[in-house]
Amino acid sequence: MMNKTSERPNMHLHLKIWRQLNAAAPGKFVSYEKENVSPDMSFLEMLDELNEHLIKTGGDPVAFDSDCREGICGMCGLVINGQAHGPRRATTTCQLHMRSFNDGDTITIEPWRAKAFPVVRDLVVDRSAFDRIIQAGGYVSVNAGNAQDANALPISKYNSDLAMDAASCIGCGACVAACPNASASLFTSAKVSQLALLPQGLVERKERAINMVSQMDLEGFGDCSNYGECEAACPKEISISNIARMKREYVRAALTSA
């Protein structure tokens, strides 16, 4: 903290953080003053420092999710000044640095807000709705026995790239948080796409599209109005062309499934 590598001086920030004891309790914003914030800190380090201070002074630390802190696990996620994962595009909250803010800024920090993502405490939400969508169809059948010969299944470079793009979804939920309708279409479509694009995924193709969309609807997410805020908020820049693919998969399955 004392090690200043940036040329910018440390900052004084006004934080406005959503505090909520549990899903049932009503929440409210609490203001905190945070002094001596280095521009080189990550956003979560800044919150860690705030929590250390709160613990030392007998306060209640702010609950928030994080795990890898290198932008690949999908655990962290805060709505910072009205934007999921904050002001930098293609960046998770843990990879956001305080140099994106200015001295004297007021920063409002809220949890993902969606009925399907109930608040567990403060900024932590329950994203198990995503797990249930995956369980509904995000798997492939694999024949038992010896491993297949390598390259026995030819896959075009084009399709493998598209599948890989879809598979880069880390399931953070920023798409739901950013969507004005709180729709989970981008997440679900990425998971449908990564399998629908590959031969291994074709066995359960129809059941997958119908079951995952049905589960998504059942969880209480909103409908897709094609705002495209999800793609703009996605730290992995997943394209809404995946949503179109999910729709094709669904319509195809609806018309042809047994």
């Binding site: 009205g82 004005p180 042809t256």
Partner: protein, 231 residues
Amino acid sequence: MLPFLTAVKSSVGKKFLMAITGLFWVFFLIVHLAGNLALLSGNGDFYNKYSHFLMSLGELLYVMEFLLLAFILTHIFSGVSVALGKMRARPQNYDVQKDLGGKSRKTVSASTMIYSGLLLLIFLVVHISHFKYQVGVDREYFTIINGTRMHDLYQLVYDAFGNLWYMLGYEVIMILVFSHLRHGFWSAFQSLGINHPRWSPVINTLGVVLASVIGFGFLILPLYIHFIGGR
């Protein structure tokens, strides 16, 4: 096959229906605008003959009217359902909200679809009751076309747009038509699952062009009638 009701009640099916019905109405608006260009003729018989032609279609006209009604009801139903679902899915809103920009397509026109849509619905009721059923019209408009006594629609339209406030009210609605189609057209293709690296930019541009042609086409007609036209 998935049961029809299950499919259309799903989030995908709902928007699929909205897209199909919306695109059908876009097609209708293009035909409607093309027909209305006859209003530009100083000779009222020209427009009334077009009107007479439509009336002479007989059952075909009823089929078209039935389709338009059924499709707009479906469109409204799915649109209202999406708007209500939005409130259900996010009961507690954000304190601070900032659009993300970048690849987002959340334009003003996209965020106001439900409002422009509902205002257009009110307009549609007024529009049809005025020009088709002549509700609230205190004099009779008649003319003889091809030996048939029929409504003098041309004069009715010219008299209506002769009123400055009526004309201006219409213009506001036509801006809403532009706005609704600006997001609606490309969005319909996305909802149908049509998204292609080469063709999507074309569809988006076509949407802007169509929204402009239809919106401003219908906007120019009342202006022309009010300021330039007239017998």
